[in-house]
Amino acid sequence: MHLVLLEGDVAVASYDLVDDPFMISPDGSGKRGYVRVRCHDGTQYWLLVGRGGHDLGRKAAPLAIPEEMQEKAAAAGVPLQRRTEVDLIGKEVLVDNWLTLCAIMTRARAYPSYKEMEYLLAALSRHDVLRVSEVLLVSGLDPAIMLAVVAKAIQTGRVETELAHQLFGMHSQLKRVRS
């Protein structure tokens, strides 16, 4: 889920998994993997993903960052952040929206999208705000690819829409981001 939110972070350029960040051993032993996140501004940080806050049936035990990981991050000169399920509380709508947008993009990945992209850019140049339903009404364009183009535009920050408190859908308003 944390990686799903990374997909929706405009500042993030890419990320990759080092070792296995999601291998959770009950006693915390074993090699800890992490997620290496690279940002558009050239910076990077590491994410340590695990369970914390409340382990089922046990008393609250915050996820401790192993010392070796801290030393490793310090040696690499990158900040190390931890993420647990507690960090997802209150972000359910955002997670659901990005799961949907990622699925929309993935299923259209292998198909050309230049016509749909041209149309969207032209429409945004004429209107500051557009509803999703309006860009899908055009005949001759593939609605699946059109949706994927919209999702990509949101992901890259060209367009913004309310995703934190409202489910993405036909009613969502797309606002052009002027850089």
């Binding site: 889920m1 799903v4 409340h54 089922l56 049936g57 046990r58 008393k59 609250a60 035990a61 399920e85 997802l88 359910e92 709508v93 997670v95 659901d96 799961l99 949907t100 990622c102 699925a103 929309i104 993009m105 993935t106 299923r107 259209a108 990945r109 292998a110 198909y111 339903s133 593939d142 609605p143 699946a144 690819i145 949706l147 409202q166 489910l167 993405f168 859908g169 036909m170 009613h171």
Partner: protein, 658 residues
């Protein structure tokens, strides 16, 4: 309310008093409430920076007590949080009771005066506590005793104390129950301390797995919109049935099947069944998973007879059939149980590539994660399948079981019949109101969701190119090129007992012995494309054998047909005509030799008989060399008649393996 800067007794993480745990003041007695409210006010005033003198003047609580109460409030409680305002309740104990005084108890003196005795004993003799813990929780290094009872554990406990020279004057020997109640309470208390270990030792693996159910913590997987997440799982159908397979040449093959499976794809938000597929295999495979998903995607017309139900008014079953706009509707998450072969990489990749969804594998045997599917399975079984005359019931002793195989063949209860029942139940489920959807039916809820923009439900089909060329059921096989240069047997590959080739492959003698990657369409055995494995050279579309062209069936049905056909052929096997003739002639010779008059003729007949016998043996030797995979030869049924009534030879080439 937050603390002001100079109140150091309250650490910054707990500075927001509104988040402190607090008791329900309405439940306190009048006297306790008065005390509590004053203390609470004092702590709040301290946090807000009021002077100590001001607090004392307002609450009548002196300085030392103010600091004492504040420290108690930020102390950790047993539930892992800070005590908060709970610590201000009169007589509230924050830590467990710890006895300090030695136990002084006289036998027969009642149960008083022994509070904390067991804890005190354990603190003096930690090895005794360790023994009790390990024996009760089943982690002893000695030979384990499954679920030791409390009485037996108590006996061991007393033995340990006797070994430590405890006498009748020492607790627990000077009590009526010898500490049994305390020991039992201690063991039950271990549940709070180590619940997973406790359930594993005392209630079994199933109870451990169930520990996450109803924990009060909601899933990180949001279920906020329809067609967001779907669950896929298979259910074993306990109804014996008979497949009637009709071949292109008119043969009807009967295949009894004891049990089979049906896979469901269920949308999670409304428990709407969006796809289903019958799996005629002992264990569902990756192909089965893809069939289920494709059943949910393809519109009614594209599925033909497979998705038609004879028990519904219009023959339609699934949402994509009832609402054509939903054809090829995608979803964002697919949840599957990884106990099956669902985890095959090729299958998962195919699903992700086609549908675009994320795939979530749940733990094995975690039925509660799949509760929508389990609930629907239960309903379908009760309403449809267990009531049919061919049911196997729930086991051999189920009274509903009444010679199911005979019933199945007698009534010819075909898989088609059972599929119709399942599909009719699916349609009924999808159109029945239920409490989970606020008394709307799943289909009704879907239609409402599509009509309501804020619901987040919208049409998100697959790209048109993907719809036209749905590769979900494409299957990859690696086959070795066969052939023989010495005998000029042209290069070909054998797939499903058929010989496939094309002009390119048939002339590529250099490929004999090398491997090809074959891309097949699971739904049609006529569709196969080949590529050379190590070079990537494309060989194009392969052609099925000449005699089989025009036969369109799925790969699975072809396997079933071969199995059933060979089984039936072996079942109808008998003595060959030639052997029967030999037997008859041999009988005649024996009769003649008794008369001892025609020795010359007998010798001549014996030579003819021997020659026929030798020919027959040669033929039988050729047949046996192809076992266990019997060649698919034109059927020559054993005939009752004269030896010379053979059928004329077949016209057209006969390929090896046909």
């Amino acid at each position: 309310m937050t603390t002001s800067r100079n109140r150091k007794l309250i650490p910054p993480p707990f500075a927001d008093l509104s988040k402190w745990p607090a008791p329900d003041e309405e439940l306190l007695s009048k006297e306790d409430r008065i005390v509590y409210v004053a203390r609470k006010r004092a702590v709040e005033m301290y946090a807000s920076g009021v002077t100590i003198e001001g607090i004392t003047a307002a609450t009548s609580i002196i300085r030392d007590q103010i600091f004492y109460f504040v420290r108690r409030c930020v102390t950790g409680a047993e539930d892992g949080m800070i005590a908060g305002f709970r610590a201000l309740l009169p007589w509230q104990r924050l830590a467990g009771y710890q006895r300090r005084e030695p136990v002084r108890h006289v036998a027969g003196g009642g149960s008083g005066g022994c509070a904390g005795a067991l804890s005190q004993l354990f603190s003096r003799f930690p090895e005794v506590e360790k023994h009790v813990r390990n024996r009760f929780l089943g982690t002893s290094s000695a030979v384990p005793v499954a679920r030791i009872g409390y009485t037996e554990l108590h006996g061991e406990f007393l033995d340990q104390l006797r070994a430590l020279d405890f006498t009748e004057d020492d607790w627990p020997f000077n009590t009526a129950n010898y500490g049994y109640k305390s020991l039992r309470a201690f063991c039950i208390g271990l549940l709070t301390e180590q619940p997973s270990r406790w359930f594993g030792a005392r209630a079994g693996d199933e109870a451990v797995r169930r520990h996450g159910v109803g924990s009060g913590y909601h899933s990180v997987f949001p279920k906020l919109r329809g067609y967001g997440a779907c669950q896929l799982d298979f259910h074993k159908v306990d109804a014996m049935s008979v497949i009637i397979l009709e071949t292109e040449d008119g043969a009807r093959l009967r295949v009894p099947i004891a049990r089979w499976h049906v896979g469901f794809l269920i949308e999670e938000r409304w428990n709407l069944i969006v796809g289903a597929f019958v799996v005629l295999e002992s264990t569902p495979s990756g192909d089965s998973v893809l069939e289920v998903i494709e059943a949910a995607l393809r519109p009614h017309e594209a599925q033909g007879e497979d998705a038609f139900c004879h028990l519904t008014i219009d023959g339609k079953v699934f949402p994509a059939q009832l609402m054509p706009d939903l054809a090829y509707q995608g979803f964002s998450v697919l949840k599957m149980d990884n106990a099956w072969s669902n985890a095959a990489t090729e299958v998962v990749d195919n699903i992700i590539r086609t549908v675009g969804c994320a795939v979530n594998f749940g733990p094995v045997k975690a039925w509660w994660r799949r509760h929508p599917i389990e609930r629907i399975f239960g309903k379908l079984s009760e309403r449809g399948l267990k009531r049919l005359p061919s049911t196997l019931g729930s086991g051999p002793k189920d009274t509903r079981r009444a010679n199911p195989q005979e019933q199945a063949i007698k009534f010819e209860i075909t898989v088609r019949d059972l599929i119709d029942v399942i599909y009719a139940c699916i349609r009924e489920h999808n159109e029945e109101s239920n409490e989970g959807s606020s008394y709307a039916s799943p289909m009704g809820a879907l239609q409402h969701g599509l009509a309501t923009a804020e619901s987040g439900v919208f049409l998100q089909p697959l790209p048109r190119a993907a719809q036209q060329d749905l590769k979900l059921l494409s299957h990859i096989e690696v086959a070795t090129v066969r052939g023989d240069i010495s005998k000029n047997v042209r290069p070909h590959v054998r797939l499903g007992r058929w010989r496939y080739t094309n002009p390119i492959l048939a002339n590529a003698y250099g490929l004999i012995g090398r491997q090809l990657v074959i891309y097949c369409d699971r739904r049609d055995v006529q569709v196969a494309h080949a590529t050379v494995l190590d070079t990537g050279e494309q060989l194009g579309a392969l052609e099925a054998p000449f005699s089989k062209r025009g036969q369109h069936m799925s790969w699975r049905n072809r396997v079933l047909m071969h199995q059933a056909g060979q089984s039936e052929r072996l079942g109808s096997n008998g003595t060959s005509v030639a052997a029967q003739w030999c037997d008859a002639q041999g009988e005649k010779l024996r009769e003649r030799s008794k008369l001892a008059r025609n020795k010359k003729r007998a010798s001549k007949d014996a030579l003819v008989l021997a020659k026929v016998d030798a020919d027959q043996k040669r033929l039988e030797a050729t047949d046996k060399s192809d076992l266990p995979s019997l060649p698919e030869s034109p059927s020559i049924r054993p005939k009752k008649g004269t030896f010379f009534d053979f059928e004329p030879p077949m016209s057209g080439p006969v390929y090896l393996g046909d």
